[in-house]
């Protein structure tokens, strides 16, 4: 018997309703007091191409794809063909037997196949041209029966999901669910080992990564967001479009990413907290504005959700191949900060932090995240809003007298101050007149080509990084501090590494994990200390060339023994492959 440790994969087609079914199932598990992590593996297609939605549930927090799905709800034959082999021995298939024939080409004897005439049940009982759409919910009823899930909980979730579509739809879904449960009750004998037990319900949020980022920004005072739709960052734009107006904020869907990012700089200059979000192709287009943010010393926050590249690449799949880009793209020397959340929860807090850093140090801050952290959902504890502070740094929004420059000229917006951060008046403030400029400038912002002034300005801007350093989120040490087998990573692999470490520990292999949260300026000293005694460093990242591993000598200033653990096929890394990689060098 396997209790409360389960991955259910719903294999369907884009647009066939399997996504909604998965979302309902995730809520059901959460409502049973379990922890949930979802994985959407979808094509760049609206309707018709195969897609899968996997819901993991467990009694402890989870953040990774399981090595195998345990239960496959095969909404059509293709799903079985694609995913049948992934099941472990004793795995489960729920298969549509409406055609009267068993699963074609499926020879596995070691899994439990429950045949259910999903289509026939819907067509025979539910009527209407689109009856088939309820196949998913029928299968949910079957699953509920097999796992002993209380149908009432599912109905609650269905009601929540569909109530805005009207009572009729809700009732039809109830009916489909009951039909599935009833069919299972009458026709299926449970042979598989999976069961779920209800636990005390904790107060937890089941939240999409993008929503956490958007919410974190809003709570930290974001009042201007401009974006252009792109996977996997679109949901940030949509969430904020729905929520910002209530907080007197504005969301603009710009005509392209160049407009989006330069709008953010305009809003910033005017005194608003602003942000944009995008993915690789859009980030490429924002490169020139990043440099302007650095030169004009205007706060800019960019959420960069990585997806499969290069170019349009694998637009709906996960990847972490934009690391080099975010660290180094854009011409000229200027200061920037790059943060990387490792969990959905950190997405919330680090985004809030990013808005502070951008304003305090008047520079671009990139939050590097990825499709897995953006478009998957997880159960997490409620956010602790008391942790959110708003620190606007040297923003001046009261009339200025004393600071006015003596010659009756402009305000010294780019005063050559020691910490590099000059006071910044917002437009309309009397006494604060100045020129913000992308061109090398004097203290008032006027164009200069004077070599000495240039040198002083360059050094002043770059000093900000050192001023900022103590405030940047340091690396997090997980696991056994004394272990000499060390994981180094950032972003979504964090979850898989945690799980791998547990398994390695069970196998008697102690490990530790240095999770990077600030990627630039690189915390070389802290990370260097944490890695100092490492016998081998496993650098885990989702890209072909091992970008982090390759950059490590430069980032650290020393060469350490490293092994790259990579994946680049667009599917999430599993704990199992990390365990295997670790065992090879253990």
């Amino acid at each position: 018997m396997i209790t409360n440790d389960l991955a259910v994969m719903i294999g369907g087609r884009a647009g066939d309703g399997s996504l909604v079914t998965g979302e309902i199932l995730a809520k059901v598990f959460r409502d049973m007091g379990l922890e949930v992590f979802t994985i959407r593996d979808f094509p760049s297609n609206i309707r018709g191409l195969p897609t899968s939605y996997t819901i993991r549930t467990k009694d402890r927090s989870i953040m990774a794809r399981k090595d195998h799905p345990d239960i496959l709800l095969a909404i059509d034959e293709e799903a079985l063909r694609l995913h049948g082999d992934e099941l472990p021995p004793d795995g489960v298939v729920i298969y549509d037997s409406s055609s009267g024939e068993g699963p074609p080409d499926f020879e596995r004897e070691d899994v439990h196949v429950y045949q259910v005439p999903l289509k026939s049940i819907t067509v025979d009982n539910l009527g209407g041209a689109r009856a088939e759409i309820f196949k998913n919910v029928v299968s949910l009823g079957v699953l509920a029966h097999l796992l002993s899930v209380d149908v009432a909980i599912i109905k609650e979730a269905i009601e929540k999901e569909f109530s805005r579509k009207g009572e009729e739809i809700v009732q039809k879904n109830f009916q489909a669910l009951d039909l599935g449960a009833q069919y299972a009750d009458e026709n299926l004998a449970k042979t598989d080992p999976y069961v779920l037990e209800r636990r005390d319900k904790q107060d937890s949020l089941l939240i999409l990564g993008d929503d956490a980022i958007a919410y974190g920004a809003l709570a930290a005072g974001l009042r201007f967001y401009a974006g252009y739709p792109i996977t996997p960052a679109t949901e940030i734009l949509e969430w904020l479009a729905a929520h910002m107006p209530e907080y007197n904020g504005v969301v603009v869907q710009a005509e392209d990413e160049i407009s989006a990012v330069t709008m953010c700089l305009g809003a910033s200059y005017a005194g608003l907290r602003s942000m944009t979000g995008t993915s690789g192709p859009g980030a490429d287009l924002m490169v020139e504005a990043i440099s302007m943010s650095g030169m004009a010393e205007l706060p800019l926050v960019i959420i960069h959700g990585q997806r499969g590249g290069p170019s349009t690449g694998l637009p709906t799949k996960v990847e972490q191949a934009d690391l080099k880009h975010v660290l180094f793209a854009s011409h000229g020397d200027f200061p920037r900060i790059v943060l990387a959340p490792g969990t959905i929860e950190e997405g919330f807090y680090l985004t809030a932090k990013a808005l502070n850093l951008a304003e305090r140090f008047q520079l671009p801050v990139i939050v590097l995240t990825d499709q897995a952290l953006c478009q998957n959902k997880q159960t997490i504890p409620p956010f602790d809003l008391s942790q959110i502070e708003v620190d606007r740094g040297k923003l001046l929004n009261d009339p200025i007298e004393a600071l006015q420059s003596p010659n009756g000229g402009n305000f010294h917006r780019y005063a050559l101050v020691e910490d590099g951060v000059s006071p910044r008046p917002i437009p309309s403030i009397p006494g604060g007149l100045h020129e913000a400029s992308s061109i090398e400038h004097d203290e008032m912002g006027y164009t200069t080509e004077d070599p000495e002034l240039r040198k002083a300005m360059m050094a002043k801007r770059m000093r900000k990084l050192e001023t900022a350093r103590p405030e940047l989120p340091g690396p997090v040490l997980h696991g056994d501090p004394s272990a000499d087998l060390v994981f180094l990573s950032f972003g979504y692999p964090t979850g898989a590494i945690w799980e791998a470490m547990e398994r390695l520990k069970e196998d008697g292999i102690p490990t530790k994990y240095v999770q990077l949260r600030t990627l630039w300026p690189f915390p070389a000293e802290e990370v260097g200390d944490l890695l100092a005694d490492a016998r081998e460093i496993l650098v885990v990242e989702h890209n072909y060339s091992g970008q982090l591993a390759a950059l490590l000598p430069t980032l650290l200033g020393k060469v350490l023994p490293t092994t790259s653990v990579t994946r680049y096929d667009g599917l999430l890394m599993t704990p199992g492959e990390i365990v295997a990689a670790a065992k090879e060098v253990a």
């Binding site: 809003l218 603009v252 005509e255 407009s259 200059y269 004009a296």
Partner: protein
Amino acid sequence: MAQAYDLTIKEFNACEETWCPGCGDFGVNGALKRAMVNLELSPEQIVLVTGIGCSSKISDYFKSYTFHTIHGRPLPVASAIKIANPDLNVIVATGDGDGYAIGMGHFIHAIRRNVNITMIVMNNQVYGLTKGQFSPTAARGFESGTSPDGSEEDPIDGPALALAAGASFVARSFSADMKGSIATFEAAIRHRGFSVVDDLSPCVTFNKVNTYAWFRQNIRKLEEEDYEPTDRTRALELVLNSEKIPVGILYQDDSPPDTYEERVLKDLTKAPVWENLDPKGWEYARIMDEFR
């Protein structure tokens, strides 16, 4: 933020101009300053946003809050400034390269949004700062460094595009006509909605064809005609078919103002820029219920 008004044009002076002697941009700078005096606007109430080009250097020479952005992007920057703080008078000063070449996409889309800002395109039919290549408004056959045998491209007409894109105020001025320019700039700034002024601003160094003399012969002043700028199609007809270049207000939408910022900000008097962002003052916690 209003204050007793006693400003003169001198108070808008900043750095000394480094344009070539005779450059049309002097006229724009002068007329813009005078328009501000006439409109009783103080430097603090104005944000001048520029791109990159000789024309865009005006942000060094015009005293107000200014933002010298990157090539081609002053419009999105300015649109956002106005949305952030609708109290500000936001002016974009740009060139025909900055505004109509690399900036063309933003031009059409800024018009579509109808944010209440004013765009002045200092149109000299060349890329001045990069030393005189033909621009999108240069006539077919114009000889320049990149068109040694004459440009092979037909020009676009900024006002025609603005009209087709739905602009609510479209005008053309001639930088040597100080009186006309001042009046046009004033009207543009007064207009509530996106206003665009295509200013014919000769480049005395690189454009030896479209000189002051040439323009004097090739323009017609609408103020001297019986022209009512209230019909979009009529205006299009005029800019597309007129032998001489019509100068003056080509079109002004007389329906009630309907600006983007009025649409997206419920209460215009409460610009988000003046918000205190301290999280304690806001109700964020209940959002969590959505995820419960």
